[in-house]
Amino acid sequence: MQAWNNALRKGIGSLRKVSAFQWILFILMSLLAMFMLLPIVYLFNHALKPYYELFLYPPTFIARNPSFQNFIDLIVVTQSSIVPMTRYLFNSIVASLLVVVTSCLFSVLCAYPLSKHKFPGKGLIFSGIIISLMFAPEMVGIPRYFVISQLGIINTYWGHVLPLVAMPVGVFLMKQFIDQIPNELLEASKVEGAKEHMIFLKIVIPLCMPAVATTAILSFQSAWSTDETSTLFMENETMKTLPFFVNTLTNQLANNVANQGAAAAAALLLFIPNFIIFLLLQRKVITTMMHSGIK
């Protein structure tokens, strides 16, 4: 009881410390947050609206009779078509998982020597990465297409994965993060006879997990939501991914609500995994971003 009272007193105390400035800020920021989230709320409601509710005027903001009909339609209606929706979903999951695993692994492998080793060419590689931060691969889509067709990975999962594996931002963030690990720690374990790969596995990887998590989020977001690889590198309909499918649904959407329920349901499928992963890992992201500066 005593502890409870103390806690309560402390709680009230900290409430009192909140200044008028913070109250105003709190209200303004809440309004802004609502504005930012409003379209997402629409998306949710739209996805849950049964077909007839889409045509109500004035349009309802909250679905009156929420149902999963749109999701069921999405699966059932496309079941009979050439490529069922589940196939796009499956392709997306496989491709995204492969991208996340390989890009995290490659990034941390590359970041460690860039941060802690001395070797010829290191400066060149790092400045190459910095410069490529300023470019976007989207800008050179055409030559990328030729590289990929030369490699013979058109219409394979590799075509989805390999173009997205090299993530300069990931390497950059990890390198900045590993820079924070004191050299003494690594040298001490070297003195004790630890081999380089053991240092990497037992010290570097555990310590830079926040940066790995951040890279995982970023690579997942890019892989899960891109339709570029599907439109450019896949000719075979069965190899295309979910964003491509959603795109085909939205093409006829601009002036017509008929398909909006299905499109919203599919877009929600694109959005929710991103959201959940970020929610789980957001603390790690902020920690990583503290070291994100380009010095």
Binding site: V18, Q22, M36, P120, A267
Partner: protein, 322 residues
């Protein structure tokens, strides 16, 4: 040429020690094989999918290439055509990109900084909620973003915006928000700004939270009176590296945008070129007309623009290590 370069280089970040690469190669590999082994997987994919395409774009920009016959070297012809003949480029792509980039880039960046600062002024416990609210829109990037906003901007009276404005009486008939050339650009800007609080925003937020509290106390003693002065004299100078990272992300994010016009209007080129950005111009020539050489020329121009603007940010926020 073979004199050690380290003494003469002033900014080691910008000018790599290229001379070191030329020195006995085999020996270096033998001595540092493990480092190279670690770097190799990334480096190979990096070279294959980023470096080679970039170099190839520069190469192709000097050719006529229709993707069927072998590329024919044409010298500066593409560049000359781009600069002197391409009406769409000058009349729509450049002004549109300029308008779009000036508003979305700096404005989005400044808004990102202000919002990050405001969030960091809130009590630590509820910060997470606001961070999440501001960051969430950027997760819809790409296809999902178009769906989200097409629901709002739907062109019949069942669209949320149309029905609201009809109700209030501001408009008397439904507007085709995403197809009418009058509105498309503004809609694109709004939507992109909404989704622009991404990685750069998180970096700024972390940077602000990372500033040493003692600096603020010292600042108070030195005569800093209000929060604006605090931001200008303490916060910004001590988080310049994050400011630079955020700025570079903003520049790249802005100049590579373009899909949004196609996704909103449902067509490339967008109605009357009203949302035609440089990226759409590249796609138009590359994937619709199959003039790969010319499309590469536009890519190169865009790359150079991105690079120059990023360098400008570097001038503003880069740490001076002279």
């Amino acid at each position: 040429m073979s004199s050690p370069a380290s003494g003469t280089i002033q900014q080691p970040m910008e000018r790599p020690k290229q001379i070191a690469v030329i020195t006995p190669f085999v020996q270096a590999i033998k001595q540092h094989w493990l480092s190279y082994l670690f770097v190799a997987p990334f480096l190979i994919t990096f070279i294959l999918f980023i470096v080679i395409p970039t170099l190839a774009a520069i190469g192709l920009s000097f050719t006529y290439f229709n993707a069927i016959e072998a590329p024919k070297f044409v010298g500066w012809l593409n560049y000359r055509n781009l600069l002197t003949q391409d009406m769409v480029f000058w009349k729509y792509a450049i002004p549109n990109t300029f308008k779009f980039a000036v508003i979305v880039g700096p404005l989005g960046y400044i808004a990102g900084f202000i919002l990050a600062w405001l969030v960091s002024q809130l009590p630590a416990r509820i910060r997470v909620i606001y961070t999440l609210a501001l960051y969430t829109p950027s997760m819809t990037a790409g296809v999902a973003m178009a769906v989200v906003w097409l629901i709002v901007f739907s062109g019949d009276r069942l669209g949320y915006l149309n029905s609201f404005l009809l109700e209030v009486g501001i408009i008397d008939q439904a507007q085709l928000w995403t197809q009418d050339p009058k509105y498309l650009m503004n809609v694109m800007i709004l939507v992109t700004l909404w989704g622009s609080m991404g990685v750069g925003f998180l970096a700024l937020l972390a940077g602000i939270q990372n500033v040493d509290v003692q600096l603020y106390e010292a600042g108070k003693i030195d005569g800093i009176r209000n929060r604006l002065q605090e931001i200008w004299y303490i916060t910004i100078p001590s988080m310049k590296p994050q400011m630079l990272f955020g700025a570079v992300m903003a520049v790249v994010g802005t100049l590579k945008a373009g899909q949004i016009s196609v996704q909103l209007s449902g067509a490339n080129p967008s109605p009357q070129y009203s949302g035609h950005l440089l990226i759409n111009h590249i796609d138009d020539y590359g994937f619709i007309r199959y003039e790969m050489g010319y499309a590469s020329t536009i890519s190169v121009v865009l790359l150079v623009m991105t690079y120059l603007v990023s360098r400008l940010c570097w001038k503003l926020f880069g740490s001076k290590e002279e």
